[in-house]
């Protein structure tokens, strides 16, 4: 901890990040148990085929025992155990007199004692996810809360009820929940629990039971306007990294869009090209079969190309864009941390002044230091986790992109391979008759 150590408060800096228990957290008792403190890393790191980290099998019933078995076989990055599985699927449209909206089925399977039942399945709409996120941010301001897909879509430009849009959103919501479930602190948040289990979420919302931790209370009261003296190197480095990373993601997004555009135009031309061989075949004799097969080949390749382009649009771009949102969230958390540090430094200065004036030492300076040091610890832990997740996510994303391209070429290769013997046949016949 690089912040000033004017008073000798017990700092949490001596222990390793993972072992730090949250001094101001209301969930202390839970965190003291080492097993549950280190919660699951998403299954995304496993070599499952989906581009966005959704585990392939989301519907297999996980009885407690089989869950335990799976846990023992798991071999993930930080040696963390999985005891909470969530998924979002099965979008359905609801039409009422007032409005039309989509709900998603949220399934939970867990062995945690914070949950009354081992399994839950209920329906939630985007609003509910949005509520959850806000509550998480409020109640855990020192932690990075994963982003949600964009709330607002331009009506008339995007069809909110189209299959592609709904599916893209579902995947993002699924990712969001999984990231929360994997987080060692966020996953134990009361609001998260309620979201996953409450039959009637709306009445709960109305009750306004916002269970804030002591930390969130105090961070909420941090007023802005304090100027930061010097940002500790590690946090400055984080900000620099995020800036450059945002830039690069933006560039990649533009390149991907350009590729999609070029591929679409290529596709259009192929759709003109293929049929020409057919029309040629129509007035040929000997050449009819070969020409027809070339036509079919080109058509197959065009179909394969369309599949590739659709995959890029539906799977690649949204994940890329969601990371930009993630970066924004991270930057906001860094900003908050800056403010907390700034306040602490300001109060520290004030003490020095007051000491000279022989007025009593206010106790809230200690609180400030505490606050700052906890924030720093939480942030560092979350940063590490975020970096790891980012690495996995991008490894999966880019590997998936490469795989889709391989599949495209394999489909085309198969198509062209089949007509080679067709074209050769006549030549063999020629040799025979001569």
């Amino acid at each position: 901890m690089s912040a000033g150590n004017a008073n000798s408060l017990t700092s949490s800096g001596q222990q390793s990040i993972e072992e730090v228990s949250h001094p101001l957290s209301a969930e202390e008792s839970v965190l003291s148990s080492p097993d549950t403190a280190n919660a699951a890393i998403s299954l995304a790191e496993k070599d499952l085929s989906l581009l966005n980290g959704t585990p392939v099998d989301t519907s297999s019933p996980a009885s407690s025992s089989s869950l335990v078995n799976r846990l023992q076989l798991d071999d993930d990055l930080n040696g963390e155990t999985h005891d909470l599985f969530v998924s979002v699927d099965d979008p359905k449209k609801h039409v009422s007199t007032m409005e039309t909206y989509i709900t998603y089925r949220v399934t939970t399977k867990t062995t945690r004692t914070e949950f009354d039942l081992p399994e839950y399945s209920l329906r939630r709409r985007y609003q509910d996810f949005d509520w959850l996120r806000n509550k998480l941010e409020e109640s855990q301001p020192t932690h990075l809360v994963p982003p949600l897909p964009e709330k607002f879509v331009m009506k008339g430009v995007v069809d909110r009820f189209s299959e592609e849009f709904v599916e893209t959103r579902r995947k993002a919501l699924d990712k969001f929940l999984k990231r929360v479930a994997d987080h060692p602190v966020l996953s134990f948040n009361e609001n998260f629990n309620v979201f996953l289990t409450a039959k009637d979420l709306n009445s709960y919302k109305k009750q306004g039971l916002a269970l804030l931790t002591k930390m969130s209370e105090s961070v909420k009261n941090v007023t802005g306007g304090y100027k930061l003296r010097s940002r500790p190197l590690e946090f400055a480095a984080m900000l620099d990294y995020l800036d450059v990373f945002t830039q690069k993601l933006g560039t990649i997004d533009r390149i991907a869009q350009r590729i999609i555009k070029e591929q679409s135009e290529y596709l259009m031309e192929l759709r003109d090209y293929g049929p020409l061989y057919s029309s040629w075949a129509a007035f040929e004799g000997e050449l009819q079969k070969p020409l027809k097969s070339v036509s079919e080949c080109v058509t197959s390749c065009a179909t394969a190309l369309e599949e590739l382009t659709d995959d890029m649009s539906e799977d690649f771009l949204p994940v890329l864009r969601e990371y930009v949102l993630y970066i924004e969230s991270m930057k906001n958390v860094l900003k908050k941390r800056d403010q907390v540090q700034a306040e602490y430094e300001a109060k520290l200065e004030a003490i020095v002044v007051r000491k000279e004036e022989k007025i009593g030492v206010p106790m809230d300076v200690e609180k400030c230091q505490d606050r700052m040091e906890c924030f720093n610890a939480d942030l560092k832990a979350d940063w590490e986790r975020w970096q790891n997740n980012k690495r996995q996510d991008f490894r999966q994303l880019l590997t998936g992109m490469a795989e889709k391209n391989i599949q495209y070429y394999e489909k085309c290769l198969a198509a062209w391979d089949t007509i080679i013997p067709l074209l050769q046949k006549k030549e063999d016949m020629n040799v025979d008759t001569n």
């Binding site: 290529y266 004799g285 390749c301 490894r395 074209l423 006549k426």
Partner: protein, 453 residues
Amino acid sequence: MQSWCSGSSLAEFLQFQPNPQSLLYDYLQIKGAALHVQPIPANAAYSASTDVQCMAEGSCLLRKMEISVAEAEKRTGKNAVNMQETYTVYLIETSVTEGHNPVPDSLWRRYSEFELLRNYLLVTYPFIVIPPLPEKRAEFVWHKLSADNMDPDFVERRRIGLENFLLRVASHPVLSSDKIFFLFLTENGWKEAVFETGFLAKSDSRLKALNATFRVKNPDKRFSELKHYSDELQSVTSQLLRVRARVADRLYGVYKVHGNYGRVFSEWSAIEKEMGDGLQSAGHHMDAYAASVDDILEEEEHYADQLKEYLFYAEAVKAVCRKHELLQYELETASQDLASKKQQQEELAAGTVRTFSFKGMTSKLFGQETPEQREAKLKVLEEQIKEGEVTVTEKTLECEEFVKNAWKDIERFKEQKDHDLREALMSYAVMQISMCKKGIQVWTNAKECFSKM
């Protein structure tokens, strides 16, 4: 596969030689069945059907002589209107393979000289589908290709096309023994010889041909169908070439944009720790991917050239059809003339006027003619009818000969076309397969790099 040099058709074969006593005849040795097929020079990008043509015994110039268009060079000089111009000349190399000492020879020719040769062949052998020249100006270009005639890639493709033209002529059972062709290959002063043949005067006017097309009554059904086929072939190949050029353009765009990944991955890898290496190497593969499209599309140009050859061949087929229509029309006209003259003779002899004639009307109006006048008229008509009968006989024979010979060559052409286009499609498929395999390779490499991130 018909052989032009089997005994029975030799007479016809000789009949159509402009000068059977030519030097060339020394080179023609009508051998037995042993066939030594001339290997096609390595830089002929076209199909090997010229090989197949050479199966005819001994009539093929290609069997006696190696021909190639080896190089192209830029020249500058003064043209007909005394203006400086830059043009390209092509080096024709020939090497007589008979005997122990191959005698190599070479000379330079412009594209316009090739055109002159072809025009001569068109006029001299109207019943033959004359092989086409490569295009005069670059057409069906996609954006990377230059439409400039001086562009080295265009010149190179033209060189290959010209060589292919010469090989096609040299392996044709009829055309290969043409003296002027031989002179074109070997003699600098060939132009005098070609003009001496007076071929320009023999050429049919376009107007005459057009007139015949519209007014012929009974063209041979096969030729009508053939003309229709040629029209369709022209239409579809030109459409194909146009769309293929657009497809090439788009494909180029797709590949090249991927090159941008190379740069951004490199920049991104600079701020990463563990991910850096994987990203960096993946970026290199993206660069390689983007670069690979140049070779791919260059190969595809050869396919386009093969299609173009047949686009132009279609025109050559139409020329043969037009000649048939012309001959047929002339025959019909001559027959009609004869028929009406005979009619007149009949009427004059019988004294009745069944057909309307001005003379008839005036004599009705102004009185009958004298017996002496009638005698004189009859005599004239008799002469005319005699001439007319000769003309009709000649024209009929000419038509029949033309149809017979033309159809022979058309059958040969059809087989050649089927063979060549089948091969072209095959090589196109092979190109596509190669492109797919390269794609799989690159992306597999990239995937490996990504998985190590």
